[in-house]
């Protein structure tokens, strides 16, 4: 039996994580992280609302475990939201879930859990961990391939893996819902959260516009001609087709590159990327893999494509794709490397 702190978002996955840990006989306490200041009297939506904290609390009540709400909103704002806005301002496409895991959940929250004498921190992430033959911890894809979240945990260190529990990674989502319903958890039928938790109704433009304002620039075609104008490059991401406002043209055009105020567009064929450079490289094992042949995933729900590590020098990574080339590789997103279903590590695409 271990003392486990489980982060409870108010969704079905973290609810079942708590339930499974209780059933396994652990000494469990739940915590809901308050990530944003929801103004009173306004309808709230997202992962940080009163509705969600109430659902988490009711699950904790049913399980008979202590439950706390901790205010992490200042740290979340500074380490995740501000970074998110700055990345868009710089023409990149950030992944705030990765930042949150890296800078809030698996640092500040894990440290507090350990300080309070908990042996482990559990979450409802769909990932698995086990130990390899060399005794080192490995991060493995979830049993439900459609729900796998190794992509947002590639930065986990050996110490973080040793102190983490992911009880739902062994179960398929549909089974988890059925298990939650059997146990009478109020969260059993809640819809999956797919949006970024701090974006109301998932509207990125509405979130960024008041923060970044008008930043007009050109839309430049593959041949160098100016195809149009825009009022903020931050509204575009590499691979995007809709919303360019380009009329005419015989082939659909996609965003291929963002360079300062200029948004470059081109035909779909221009999206294919044979080689990717990235930085802030981390390896889960602590050292690079023995074999250079891996698979690589360049977005959260993307496919892992066969890849070759051309260079992994310190924090720099260069990967090429000998077979299928990924399309729409967006700077700021992560490139995450796998050996089969084992996550090896990853880096931030430049």
């Amino acid at each position: 039996m271990a003392r486990v702190l489980v982060a409870m978002s108010g969704g079905v996955d973290s609810s079942m994580a708590a339930a499974l840990l209780v059933e396994q006989g652990h000494d469990v306490a739940g915590v809901h992280l308050k990530m944003a200041d929801t103004p009173s009297g306004l309808p709230g939506k997202g992962c940080c609302t009163l509705d969600d904290s109430r659902d988490a609390r009711r699950v904790a009540d049913l399980l008979g475990i202590p439950f706390y709400v901790w205010d992490f909103s200042a740290a979340f704002q500074e380490r995740v939201v501000d970074d998110f806005v700055a990345e868009y301002a710089a023409g990149r496409t950030p992944n705030p879930c990765i930042r949150c895991n890296e800078r809030v959940k698996y640092t500040a929250l894990l440290a507090r859990a350990r300080a309070l004498g908990h042996d482990a921190l559990a979450t409802g992430h769909h990932v698995r961990r086990d130990r390899g033959l060399d005794g080192r911890w490995r991060l493995r894809r979830a049993a439900d391939p459609g729900k796998d979240q190794t992509y947002v945990l590639y930065m986990a260190t050996q110490a973080q893996l040793a102190a983490s529990l992911w009880p739902v990674g062994d179960h398929r989502k549909a089974d988890l819902r059925a298990m939650a319903a059997e146990r009478g958890l109020v969260t059993a039928r809640k819809p999956d959260s797919t949006d970024i938790c701090f974006l109301p109704a998932g509207d990125l433009g509405a979130f960024l516009r008041p923060r970044l304002g008008d930043r007009p620039g050109r839309i430049v075609d593959a041949d160098g001609t100016v195809a149009g104008r825009h009022d903020g490059a931050y509204r575009f991401t590499v691979g995007q087709r809709r919303g360019l406002g380009l009329s005419g043209g015989d082939v659909p055009r996609y965003v291929t590159r963002i360079d300062g105020p200029d948004v470059h567009v081109g035909p779909r064929t221009a999206l294919a990327t044979r080689a990717v450079e990235a930085d802030h490289l981390t390896w889960i094992a602590g050292t690079p893999p023995a074999a250079a042949e891996v698979t690589a995933q360049v977005r959260y729900r993307g496919a892992a494509l066969p890849a070759v590590i051309d260079d992994a020098d310190g924090e720099r990574l260069r990967v090429s794709f000998p077979a299928e080339a990924p399309e729409g590789v967006a700077p700021g997103q992560a490139i995450v490397l796998y050996d089969g279903d084992t996550c090896l590590g990853g880096a931030t695409i430049r």
Partner: protein, 384 residues
């Protein structure tokens, strides 16, 4: 053994209070405003309770209004007194202190932000006590209301109302006193002070939750906040909750009867608790040691996060408060600690004692705080 040291949040219902309430939950179901035997029976119980509260405070029964609690009493007094005074053309300036309960502060801010009143918020000294001269210095010719609490809910400091009230009375300025934390713990003299309003909450003195008192002087005009059937002098409409009001009256009588023995007993326990905590390095009392409720120990714990301390003490079976709890239950930075420029790098705990508190509870809490602080400091303090 678990120890409940959060009596400033709420107190257990006294068994004698429960006994007094039960017949009115079971049998006396009439509406106190009805003109028949059922109504008269309920009304008689309400009026007895009104007399008990009046006697406990040294006011006349007609000055006692029953409400749903401290927040409603504060809201009626602040909003109602200020609006009526402005309607009478007496001015539109309100003075309060930076350490009032949010029930007073939010009402004052609403007057300023939504109704165009001028608001002066007077900061306390670093000891959490408001300087009477500073408060009185903020009063102008167009000031219609001063709101100043009797004792602070977070840091337990007792405000110098005996100096403030006579000066305001001499200038003809209405004074509202939030006495929710003070009643039964420090002497209150609403008649002698000549206050316009004074708020109590029954569950802070071993009565039931959901019932409070607003003492309202007969000669002040108040605009009602809740409109309806005109109960409680037309100032607080709504069917009277007779069982809760009976509990409030019984609890008020008990609190006053117990005070001569309880206050010195609790003050001694408070001092033992403070000494037991402050022997730790980096643990200091917050707010004046002298002008303090006999039931409050507020400490700053250097090198520890408040939320983490609360969780560590909960795991040890000790109930305390850290900051103020918001709607979702998260611990938020408190306006009181901000007002006295408390160290933001320290964890702040409030331990509050009550009628059921024993020397064993104090010993348990001291041991638990020592062990929680050692644990947290050994691991970075639990900061985010």
């Amino acid at each position: 053994m678990p120890a409940y040291l959060d009596h400033a949040a709420t107190t257990p219902l006294d068994p004698a209070v429960l006994e007094a309430m039960l017949p009115h939950l079971r049998d006396t179901y009439g509406n106190p405003s009805s003109g028949h035997a059922w109504g008269r029976a309920a009304r008689a119980a309400v009026e007895t309770a009104r007399e008990q509260v009046a006697e406990a405070l040294g006011v006349t029964p007609l000055e006692v209004l029953f409400t749903s609690g401290g927040t409603e009493s504060d809201n009626i007094a602040v909003l109602g007194l200020a609006r009526a005074a402005r309607a009478a053309g007496r001015g539109a300036h309100v003075v309060t202190t930076a350490i009032e309960h949010r029930a007073v502060l939010a009402a004052c801010e609403a007057l300023r932000d939504r109704e165009g009143f001028d608001l002066t918020v007077v900061a306390p000294g670093p000891d959490g006590v408001v300087d009477p001269e500073r408060l009185l210095g903020a009063v102008r010719d167009d000031t219609v209301l001063v709101a100043c609490m009797a004792a602070n809910n977070e840091i337990g400091t007792v405000q110098p109302l005996a100096e403030i009230a006579p000066a305001l009375r001499a200038r003809g300025v209405a004074l509202h006193v939030d006495a929710v934390q003070a009643f039964g713990r420090v002497p209150l003299d609403p008649s002698g002070w000549g206050v316009a309003g004074l708020a109590l909450s029954a569950h802070k003195f071993c009565g039931p939750k959901g019932v409070g008192v607003l003492v309202l002087r007969r000669d002040v005009a108040v605009e009602p906040v809740q409109l309806g059937g005109g109960q409680e002098r037309g100032i607080r409409s709504g069917t009277l909750d007779a069982p809760s009001i009976v509990g409030c009256g019984a609890a008020a009588a008990l609190a006053v009867a117990a005070a001569p023995t309880e206050v010195p007993r609790l003050a001694a326990l408070r001092d033992a608790l403070r000494e037991g905590l402050c022997v730790l390095d980096g643990v200091t009392l917050v707010g004046s040691a002298e002008r303090r409720l006999p039931t409050n120990v507020a400490v700053a714990v250097a090198g520890c996060d408040g939320e983490s301390l609360l969780a560590a003490l909960d795991a040890r079976g000790v109930a305390v408060s850290a900051g103020s709890a918001c709607q979702s239950g998260a611990v938020r930075p408190s306006h009181v600690l901000t007002a006295i420029a408390a160290d933001p790098g320290a964890g702040h705990l409030r331990l509050s004692l009550g009628r059921t508190t024993t020397a064993q509870d104090v010993a348990t809490a001291v041991d638990a705080v020592h062990s929680a602080v050692a644990l947290l400091r050994g691991a970075g303090g639990g900061f985010v």
